[in-house]
């Protein structure tokens, strides 16, 4: 508590929640325009979340590129689900974001002539990415946001948005947020004219190293009634090394330098599944393919780094910027000599594939509430998420949100709060410190994790699994009201678990509503991709008596790139699992010019 035991009240113009690329760019751009900008993070801005830990690759358009070709490739690879106005904005703005990082001295890999070196990334033929040091980019951003006058509040966990009518979902607008200091428990009430949610994607605690991306923004946005798009795509493939169980998060860079995947017989098995792109295929298909290899008796599967060029090892260092890599730890056999056995995984990690729906100035459907980064649907690429597009999206949407929020705040009235709302929310926020049955929050997060089942079960959904997950999610959510926590540190994890459960409710409900399979989302009971029925923006909004779903029409009539036909076919993962993968049908490579 503060010295007098009261909550600290702060009035600001723009409140940015979350200090990764989305939030830090938003705070910088807003603070360059108006005073009174506050950036709050539950950890420490530049040492928090997915941006700092990201793989060191971001999309790198240059003025000489044919941007039409880029828009086309991103639209096609995103299954034509991109908002093509956003795709163009994403690429155009990203040129400036890259130029900014470069001018600040953020390390970017360059050639001998000092020109930014660009790599092909998985799934891409025209689109290029660069390699840089994300942690140092975050440090530079923090420094600049601070110099521009943004007030940075580290180690404050935001737990709920404030609404002008006190209703959840609101019929009014968002006017601030409440939270608490993660060490002292001092409550904060922050009133704001505009709130930007930039809390990143959802990961599950225990799947390192982004344990603090617990879906806080999904949950808060869901509770106030924000409109989400395509949340059923919030799971995806990943892999880890068998020997030590370590997750390998720099696949992009490895593939860019010649890494291969082979099976027990030494076959470069991706030839069977995607003979055009091989290891550069969508990561979800790669993981499904090697799961299939294992099930068909051709496992174990190996990541073969024996062919990578020498530049790979220095590129890896640069991306990790001092963080250790298991590859160089000496705890596994020398990766230059031995292919490394790998383990398929499937987990919650949306990477912008599903999230809050944003217009071109990053407003959500709820007045007063904006968003940026992984908490929002990456409108520029739809379902696709490679070539550094998640970080490009975070930087671009963050900067746009900051500019628009500052402009909005100039003409917005002072926020007004309904009587009693703050007291009520504060009481509920701190309640677990006072009463209930004591429970370890690690145990609680273990139970949350159990809901999603095994990797295989999470990848292969069906009505029974989805409904059971929903029942278990709601039952555990109901139990939270009766739990007590040991200390303030545990209170943080309590609210994180609550937010993950609310994210689950939203995601599993969206899975239940989509009666088809599409790219990373696979339902055994609806294995076909049905463009006529489901090539749309599938939205979900919390309303008083549940969730309201909609299928928004994608405005192809005014887009440059349109699907050649609306087809119905076995989804790529369904096809991989059934051994019926057909490159002619499933390789959605953009037409070469």
């Amino acid at each position: 508590m503060s010295d007098d035991g009261q909550a600290v009240t702060i009035d600001c113009t723009v409140l940015v929640i979350g200090g990764g690329f989305g939030g830090a760019w938003a705070a910088l751009k807003a603070a360059e325009r108006i005073p009174g900008v506050v950036l709050v993070d539950k950890a420490y801005v530049s040492r928090s979340g997915a941006s700092t830990m990201s793989g060191g690759v971001t999309t790198a358009p240059q003025p000489e590129d044919d941007l039409d070709q880029w828009v086309e490739e991103l639209s096609v690879l995103g299954g034509y689900e991109a908002d093509q106005d956003w795709t163009r904005a994403l690429i155009t703005d990203q040129m400036q974001r890259v130029a900014d990082l470069d001018s600040w001295g953020v390390p970017i890999v360059k050639d001998a002539a000092g020109v930014i070196k660009r790599i092909k990334s998985r799934g891409m033929l025209a689109v290029r990415a660069l390699q840089y040091a994300p942690r140092l980019a975050m440090e530079a951003l923090r420094e600049r946001a601070d110099a521009a006058g943004a007030r940075i509040m580290d180690k404050v966990e935001i737990v709920e948005l404030l609404t002008s009518d006190g209703l959840y979902p609101t019929k009014g607008r968002v006017v601030g947020a409440i939270g608490f200091d993660v060490r002292t428990g001092t409550p904060y009430v922050i009133r704001a004219k505009r709130v930007i949610l930039a809390t990143g994607p959802l990961a599950i605690k225990g799947f390192h190293p982004v344990d603090n991306d617990t879906g806080d923004g999904f949950a808060m946005g869901y509770r106030v009634g924000g409109r989400f798009v395509d949340m059923e795509f919030a799971t995806g493939g990943t892999f880890s090394f068998v020997w030590a169980g370590y997750r390998f998060s720099n696949y992009n860079i490895a593939v860019g330098h010649g890494a291969r995947l082979i099976n027990a017989a030494g076959e470069r098995f991706m030839e069977r599944y995607d003979p055009v792109r091989y290891e550069r295929s969508e990561l979800n298909r790669v993981v499904a393919a090697f799961l299939k290899e294992i099930m068909d008796g051709r496992g174990p599967v190996y990541l073969d780094l024996t062919h990578v060029d020498d530049d790979y090892w220095t590129a890896l260092d640069r991306a990790l910027a001092g963080r250790p890599s298991i590859l160089k730890s000496g705890r596994i056999p020398d990766p230059r000599l031995h292919p490394l056995p790998i383990e398929p995984g499937w987990s919650f990690w949306n990477g912008g594939k599903g999230g809050l729906q944003l217009d071109l100035t990053c407003h959500t459907s709820v007045p007063g509430l904006m968003a940026a980064g992984g908490v929002a649907r990456n409108a520029g690429v739809g379902r696709h998420g490679s070539a550094g597009t998640p970080t490009a999206w975070a930087m671009v949407s963050g900067a746009r949100a900051g500019v628009a929020a500052a402009e909005d705040a100039l003409t917005e009235d002072e926020p007004e709060l309904p009587d009693g709302l703050v007291d009520d929310l504060l009481r509920r926020m701190l309640r677990p410190l006072r009463d209930g049955d004591l429970m370890s929050m690690d145990k609680l997060h273990g139970e949350v994790c159990d809901i999603m089942g095994s990797q295989m079960e999470l990848m292969c959904q069906n009505e029974g699994r989805i409904r059971e997950a929903l029942v278990r999610t709601r039952a555990l959510r109901d139990r939270l009201d009766g739990l007590r926590v040991a200390d303030v540190h545990e209170l943080v994890k309590f609210h994180e678990a609550k937010n993950t459960l609310d994210s689950f409710e939203l995601i599993y409900s969206c899975m239940d509503d989509r009666k088809e399979s599409r790219e990373s989302f696979y339902r055994e009971d609806y294995p076909y991709t049905d463009d006529g029925g489901w090539l749309c923006w599938h939205t979900a909004t919390r309303v008083e008596d549940g969730i309201s779903f909609d299928k928004q029409e994608i405005p192809f009539w005014r887009y440059r790139f349109r699907p050649p036909r609306l087809a119905t076919y076995l989804s790529p993962i369904a096809a991989i699992m059934r051994g019926e993968y057909d490159p002619a049908v499933h390789s959605n490579v953009s037409p070469r010019r």
Binding site: A43, Y44, R47, S48, G49, T52, R135, D154, K155, V182, R183, G206, F207, H208, P209, V210, D211, N212, S240, V242, W243, A244, G245, Y246, R247, L291, I294, G299, P300, W313, T314, L316, A321, R323, P324, S325, I326, L327, K328, S329, G330, I332, P333, D334, R336, L337, P341, E343, G345, L438, D442, H445, G446, C449, D450, M456, A486, D487, H489, E490
Partner: protein
């Protein structure tokens, strides 16, 4: 505090060498999951990993520590992860002996 929550201060998972720690508190700032707290010794304050079980292997504390006195043991994914190979009864070929070779190019890990 930590005993109640299942944490075990002072385990090898995250370790601050108390002799080298200068009490600057950088690790308290760096850690995304807030593992560290300052504790009073008789003559000075040092950092201690009070919530080591919350470590998420990001190694930001290791990078940021000016005294280079923090060690983090990389650890496998948590929460009952079961290997598909184990579930399907597939043997992984034995780990070849770690050969002693020149260091990999680039900065050593």
């Amino acid at each position: 505090m930590a005993e109640q929550t299942g944490g075990t201060p002072g385990t090898d998972r995250v370790r601050v060498d108390p002799d080298s720690c200068n009490g600057c508190g950088r690790c308290l700032q760096s850690c995304p999951t807030d593992v560290f707290r300052m504790v009073e010794l008789t003559d000075r304050s040092v950092a201690l990993a009070v919530y080591p079980d919350d470590c998420c292997d990001c190694n930001l504390c290791v990078i940021d520590c000016p005294q280079h006195c923090i060690t983090v043991n990389l650890a496998p994914v948590a929460y009952g992860f079961v290997s598909i190979y184990q579930r399907m009864g597939i043997d992984i070929p034995a780990l070849p002996a770690l050969p002693s070779l020149p260091a990999l190019p680039g900065k050593p890990a």
